[in-house]
Amino acid sequence: MTTVKTLETPTAEPVRLSRKDFVSDQTVRWCPGCGDYAILAQMQKVLPELGIPREKIVFISGIGCSSRFPYYMETYGVHSIHGRAPTLATGLTLVNPDLSVWVITGDGDGLSIGGNHLLHACRRNVNIRIVLFNNRIYGLTKGQYSPTSPKGLKTKSSPMGTVEHPLNPISVALAAEATFVARTVDVIGPHMGDVLLAAAQHRGVAFVEIFQNCVIFNDGAWEPYSERQIRDDNNLYLEHGKPMIFGKNHDRGIIMGKTGLEVVHLADGYRVEDLVVHDVTSLSLAWMLSRLEYPMPLGVIYAVEKPTFDEGLWAQVNEAKAQRGEGDLNRLFQASDTWTVADRRNGHDGHHEAHIRGEIDANLDEAYVDELMQLATTIGEALEERLAGMTLADLGPRAPIMVETSARLDHAVALMREHNIGCLLVTNADRHLAGIITEGDILSRVAGQVTDLHAATVAEYMTRHPSVLTIDAPVVEALHLMSTHGFRHVPIVDEHNLPVGIISVRDVVDFLAANV
């Protein structure tokens, strides 16, 4: 039988994984422009940083658009029953306490259909991460109001505006005794990455609400908090131990008033010392923050350590075993009264209602989808329109400088110096792309650590399986990789995985500079 195990820190040699190791071979089926894509991209950025092998990670979802998430992660995954993902996750962490278990849910799946399951997973402090994509609408079923839709929202099921009051997911999680509660926004990439990383490292239940935009049925629902030009005037970025200052010009703050948190302007004679200092261990502060809407608190709102469900339960199981030995399920069954249920199947022919089938007209949405596809490639006028329409070929990528995997490290460094570049593509003897070696690799694994570069080969220090693009890929694909994952170089390969070029952040800067 299993004994209690704690989440082991990876052994001396942490697994080195890359983004690509977490990208599955499934076609992502969310609508073009969906906020779910940004969350998927951040998850694929954060998980390699944890150093946990893929087979120790499980994503469990319920039903809804967000619940397709497990298909797209190259980890274990379960696409389960509506609202019941926390339940499956509870069972899984109990028998496999060393797994990193993630529940992916939405405002409908998590707070309506599965509301009860979510509450009790929080209350029990099950060692799982619950990520709730909140878009304030039922997207999968095409636009009915959800438990987080604001009062008055006109939807397909509330043509005159919903008369219901929305739930506040952060307040719900706190009231349900969650030990880690945080909030972030789909398009504030680095912020989301930090929050997901903190959630991953929390022991016990970690609840994360992500403001996620449904580009089709509730577009712009979170605009005050996501739109670059205005969000810093509306968002309060929380940091433990730091005073609560906000605003684009850092000119406003939060003080503790007589009955709760109040917004003040520093120009009105308030000093930084007058402001509330964020303390993630204070439940009463967390509660007040959960009720705040201006400014909108983002980041880790509450985080405390408490014994987890699996620890408590296994301690009891182990104690019982120590006192009474291994259990015997059969004996337990036989121990009390048993009775036989009469067989009533005679006379029943087992007839099943015919399953109602209906072929959905394949052309039903074609016009609509064409419109969606356009939406994802059109971003405005003039320069941005050109940028959106450009491919990597238009940007004029440079020819790559290449070395073979067997090359000596000093040779690679000399090549970079000679060409004054920060990146070499690494090929196998048959010229196929095997990896990439950059200044970043030299900084993180070589400089100050390796004294004899001639004794080392490129293969030992390169980054394997780099993300690549083809020459006909839109420039925005490269921008996606550079902004979300911080890549400074993206190799360009042909259909046979032979390197044909390289694109760098410099090329983007130079293109813009040539146009301003």
Partner: protein, 155 residues
């Protein structure tokens, strides 16, 4: 939104200028490398008495450090690039782009009139600016551009 117009009016301080660390001029090369690795940065701005005196990036590592173990215990001032070109905090994003393009460098420190360092302008600041300006087009993309949905998802 007109991108060109925005770039010309966007104050540089509203961009993500956080990609740097600061170290004092007498810190050893070994310690600077360690701090860069821990903070996942590739640029150290070198200060003496609070004033910027040099810059040390991964390109300097390639040129002067990685194959020269004798430098590892020396002060960073011996291998840094002294007196880097800087931008003032009144610069616009367009100014910064032009300067970066013209100097062909990847790090331009942003410095107040009194010499205080307030940030570091990098190509990432521009990439982040573009992504934040067009999140649906840039952030919200599938992991593999070859496999995209042809149809709207849903029942």
């Amino acid at each position: 939104m007109k991108l060109l117009d925005t770039l010309q009016h966007e104050p540089i301080t509203s961009l993500d200028l956080s990609h740097y660390i600061t170290v004092s001029a007498d810190t050893t090369v070994r310690d600077v490398l360690q701090t860069l690795r821990q903070s996942k940065r590739n640029c150290a701005l070198v200060l003496r008495d609070g004033q910027l005196v040099g810059i040390f990036t991964d390109r300097d590592i390639l040129r002067r450090v990685v194959e020269h173990p004798e430098t590892w215990d020396q002060p960073i001032a011996t291998v840094m690039t002294p007196n880097p070109r800087t931008l003032t905090e009144n610069a616009t994003a367009a100014d910064a782009l032009s300067l970066m393009n013209q100097l062909h460098v990847r790090n331009v420190p942003v410095v107040r009139a009194n010499g205080e360092v307030v940030g570091n302008f990098t190509p990432y600041a521009i990439v982040r600016f573009l992504a934040d300006s067009f999140p649906i087009t840039i952030y919200n993309r599938p992991p593999d551009p070859k496999r995209v949905a042809r149809r709207q998802y849903g029942g």
